[in-house]
Symmetry: C2
Subunit: 352 residues, 2 copies
Amino acid sequence: MAQLAARNGRTRTVTTLEEVALKAGVSRATVSRVVNGSPKVSPDVRRDVEAAIAALGYVPNRAARSLVTRRSGSIGVVIAEPTGRLFSDPFFPRLLRGISGALSARDLQLVLLMPASPADTDRTADYLAAGHVDGALLVSLHGDDPLPERMTRAGIPFVHGGRPLRGTGSSLVDVDNRGGAKTAVEHLIARGNEVIATIAGPADMGAGVDRLNGYRDALTEAGRAIEDRLIATADFTHEGGAAAMQQLLRTNPDIDAVFAASDLMAAGALGVLQAAGKRVPEDVALVGYDDSPIASTVRPQLTSVHQPIEEMGNEMARLLVAAIEEGQPVQRRVILATELIRRASSGGRRQP
Amino acid sequence: MAQLAARNGRTRTVTTLEEVALKAGVSRATVSRVVNGSPKVSPDVRRDVEAAIAALGYVPNRAARSLVTRRSGSIGVVIAEPTGRLFSDPFFPRLLRGISGALSARDLQLVLLMPASPADTDRTADYLAAGHVDGALLVSLHGDDPLPERMTRAGIPFVHGGRPLRGTGSSLVDVDNRGGAKTAVEHLIARGNEVIATIAGPADMGAGVDRLNGYRDALTEAGRAIEDRLIATADFTHEGGAAAMQQLLRTNPDIDAVFAASDLMAAGALGVLQAAGKRVPEDVALVGYDDSPIASTVRPQLTSVHQPIEEMGNEMARLLVAAIEEGQPVQRRVILATELIRRASSGGRRQP
DNA sequence: GCCGAACGTGAGAGCGCTCTCACAACGGGC
DNA sequence: GCCCGTTGTGAGAGCGCTCTCACGTTCGGC
C-alpha cells in the first residue's frame, strides 16, 4: 500500500466546476448538467456554460466523479499468459488494439494487469474484486485460475477472451478454433492427402483442445478413421513442434500431410521435414494456425488459419460494456469466424 | 464524455474507514495512519486496527484517496506505433511486462493508451494533460508527435522509451542501438568479411538512425571506407528487407556479408539471397537485429543482436516513479547494453 | 517535582463532484 | 382567475478519504 509521497514542488492549477459556475453565472448543479449532457438545461444557459468551460479549459476530475457515482470509468484487462504465446506472437498487441479502440470511444480507461507470479495473481484478484474497475476482460487464463470465481463472488462483471477450460458460465468471445481447424484439414483432404497427422496444442488450453477436435471433425465427416499414432502434442512453440514432428516421422513414415495447431509449431515441423529430405508440399503438405508473421517468413510460406484478433478485442469490450450498463450478469457468447489463407506449403494437389 | 449510466441493480457492499474505526474502537485518522504505514501509531493499536481490517476485508477506496492526495495512483503508457512493429514482433508485450512488473510492486496502475488515429492522439493528450495520471511512459513516438510538448506544458512527468528523433530533453531509456550494431558489424569484420553491406531502418526513427551509425562506427574504426552503394534503406519489414537485398545484390555482386537492422528484414534478405543461389553463410554472411523468434525460426538461424526489453520497461518505470516522487523535472538517460547472439547465419570464417 | 519535548490520538474540515429536493416561473384547462 | 403540471435552476448534503491542528499523556533533565 506504499503510496508515492504526497507533497511535491509541482502545483498544477486545475479548474473546478465551481469556477466554471462562477464564470458562467450559474450554479454548480447546472454546470454539472451541461457536462453530463442532461436535457434539462435551456439552450441559452447551455451556451454560456460551454463558453465558460472552453475559456477555462475545464476538465472534470475523475476521482471526484468516481467517488460519488461509484463508477471508476475504467476496465481491467488481465493477461495471465506465462510468457508462452505472450512473447512469440503478436496476438496480444492486436487484441489490445481491438479492446482499446472499442473503449476509447466510450471514454473508458484500459487498466492493464499482467500478473507474473501467483502472488501477483492474488494481488490482481484483490484489486479487481475491490471494485477499482467497473468490469474486466480475462484473457488466456489457464485451467486453475482463481480469478473468475473471485470476480463472480465480488459481483464484478467480466468477459472471457478465449474459452477457459472449466466453463464458468460467463460471457465469452472466442474465435472459431474448432471450425478453423476443421476447414484446414478439409483443405488437406480436398487436395488429395491421405495420411494426415496433426501436431496438437496443450490439452490444458481451450485453443489446444478445440483445434484438435476440429481435426477430428474433418476426418470423421470425410468418413476416415482417427488414428492415435497420427496425433502428437506439443506446447505451441517452435521446439515443441520440431520434437513432435520428429516423433511423428519416426513412427509414421507414410505421413503425407501435417496440420499444426500453431504457425510456430508448423515452422518447427518444417525444419524437421526438410532435414529429413521431405519436400513441402510435394512429399508432405503442411498447414499452420494463427496466420502469424512467421507463416509468411518461412520458405515455403505456410498455409494458415487467420483469426480476427482485433475484432475479438472489440467484441469483448462491447460485451463487457453492455454487461456493465445492464448491471446484472449477462451470459452471451460470440464465436468469430476464421479464414484459411492458402500459401505454398499446401499448394497444388498431392503427388501420388 | 458519455459516461455509463450510473444506476444499476448491483449493490456491492464496501467497507469504509469509518467502519473499521468503529470496530477497532479508534478514530478514522488512526485507521488511515495504519493503512498508510505511518510510524506514529502504537503497536497495540496497530494490531487491533489490522485485525479489524482483515476481519472486514477493508480495501481503501482509490477515488476518495485520489481526491484528497491529488495523485491518481496510475501512470499512462502510450504506444503510438501505427501497426508496424506492433504486430510483427513481440517487442511490446515484453516491454509491457517489464513496466508492469516494476509498477505492481509500487501499487501503481498501468493505464494503456493506444491511439490509432490523429483524433485519438488528441484525446490521449487531453487525457494525460488533464492530470488523470501521475506520469507517463511514451513509447515508439514518431518524429512529429505533439505529446511530449503538451506533457511538458501541463507539467506531467514522462519518460521516453527509445530515443525520439527530436530530443525533448526529457528522461530517456533506450537500448544501445549504436553499440549493438557496431558489435554486429565488428563480428563480421572479425570473421573475415570484406564487403559488408547494410539494410538500414527508416531514417525517421531513432533505432533506424542509430543502428546505421553503429555500422559506420565499426567500419571506420577498422579503417575501412563507408560506401554508399553498400547501404540500402527499408522499413523494418520482411518485404522491405527483400526489396533492399534485391537492389544491393543487383548493383553489388561482390557483397560477402549483410547486416540488417531487424530480423524481419534479415529474413526477407535471406530469401532473396537463397533464391539468387548464394549460400548463407558460406557466400554471404547475414546478421539481423532484435533477436526475435523469427531469428531462430528461419534456416539457417540468424545471428542477431539481443536487447533487454523487459529490463528497459523496468527501468522506464523506475525512472518515472523517481521523477514523480521528486516532483520536479528530472533528466536522466539510461542506455542498456545489448548482446550479440551468434548463430549459423554468420558461422565459421569467410571462405576466401 | 516541575517544565518542555516527544509521542499518540481524535476532531473536523474539505477535496470536486453528483443528485435529490425544493422552489420559482410559466402555461394551459376549466 | 385559480389550480395543477411542467420545466429550469439552485441549495445543500454527502461520497470516503487525508491531513492539519489541538490535546492529553509520558518521560528525561535538572
